[in-house]
Subunit: 196 residues, 2 copies
DNA sequence: TGTACCGTACCGATCGGTCGGTACGCAATG
DNA sequence: CATTGCGTACCGACCGATCGGTACGGTACA
């Protein structure tokens, strides 16, 4: 990937995050990047490809990370903690991209939209499967697993609106806090007492 | 409010929710409503006023409801339950409006933007104060109250993406589920056992 | 000589918004 | 009863600006 294209993507992420995909014009992007129309289109092809790249990259990255974590982590509670930490850290590190993703990925069309939807589905399913596995082992409440997982995903996904990468609070601590809350909420008290 | 304006607002909410505020054009709105340009602007003034009305109404309603609940409900856990139920029910009943709100309220300008931001601040503070009050009474974990509240708000706010008003699951049940998870997560175990 | 990079000029389409004008219903006045 | 005046609702043409995108010529470097 050319360094120019990197620069353009960065500027586009900043612009789209501020004004929205449809709200940001190519004229603004020209100015931000310091290239004129012809040079810009020489690098990017078209506007939607920018949105695609921005919406896709981090999500694809997270699907990869999450898959690996699930493979390596048999214990479901520990698995949740690792998923949570990596997710929140990534959101904090790429807040602009996630802002664009959540707000505007559905402005994509055709195959590009399909691909991003597929990635979203896969990522969500990873969390779902971990929970289901925990239910099977008698660890988690078996009631409404789908809604429960959507809940904890909501805690993390919503954070792109307020989290700061260099904030006072380490993202790992926040992730742990949310995991503690969630796990204490869904863990069954059974045989032994896994309560901390 | 004239019935025509109501119709226009409904159509605009539908359109903005699907295509985004900047992505939806007035030509589409003409067609959806069945009025031509002149008639449309006779009723609405300008495009941004539509966004303002859509972004503001339900939020303002929720601030009012929440204020009343806090006044009437001294017990913090019960207060959370009521706040949660009314919020989730409203989100499910006005999913389109909330979709527009979350995605595009920051496309507002000037006083309109200020007003909506003020409403958001007030609503969030209501939840914060309930939590703080619970901490003072020794009910909740005193650590990171702000982050904890942002977590539960995330659970609910994220739901506009998947909840269905006439879904299989009653919104009250989902709200209770989330409240149970959250409260069990932040409740301190002390003296008596307020656990249900 | 080719190719990657860039600027300039320009395209048709669409953007949100305004304009003058018309049809109609209602209420007051003679 | 007829006439006048007025507000509401609506149409369709039109505005300047901006939209995303393209054609093409020049330049620098291989």
């Amino acid at each position: 990937m050319s360094p120019q294209r990197e620069r353009i993507l960065k500027a586009a992420a900043h612009l789209f995050a501020r004004d929205g995909y449809h709200g940001a014009g190519m004229a603004q992007l020209e100015q931000e990047v310091g290239l004129k129309r012809g040079a810009l289109y020489h690098h990017i092809g078209n506007k939607e490809s920018l949105l695609y790249e921005i919406s896709r990259t981090q999500l694809e990255h997270m699907v990869g990370i999450a898959s690996r974590i699930v493979e390596e982590t048999p214990d479901e509670t520990e698995c949740f903690r690792r998923l949570a930490r990596t997710l929140l850290r990534n959101i904090a590190d790429h807040r602009l991209e996630w802002t664009v993703h959540y707000r505007d990925f559905n402005a994509l069309t055709g195959e590009r939209l399909e691909h991003v939807l597929e990635l979203r589905r896969r990522y969500s399913e990873i969390w779902q499967r971990v929970y289901a596995s925990g239910v099977e082992r008698g660890l988690f409440q078996p009631a409404e697993p789908r809604v429960a997982v959507l809940g904890i995903l909501g805690m993390f996904n919503y954070s792109y609106l307020w989290i700061e990468a260099d904030g006072r609070l380490d993202t790992d601590r926040i992730a742990d806090l949310y995991c503690d809350i969630f796990l204490r909420g869904v863990l069954l008290p059974p045989h032994p007492a896994p309560e901390e």
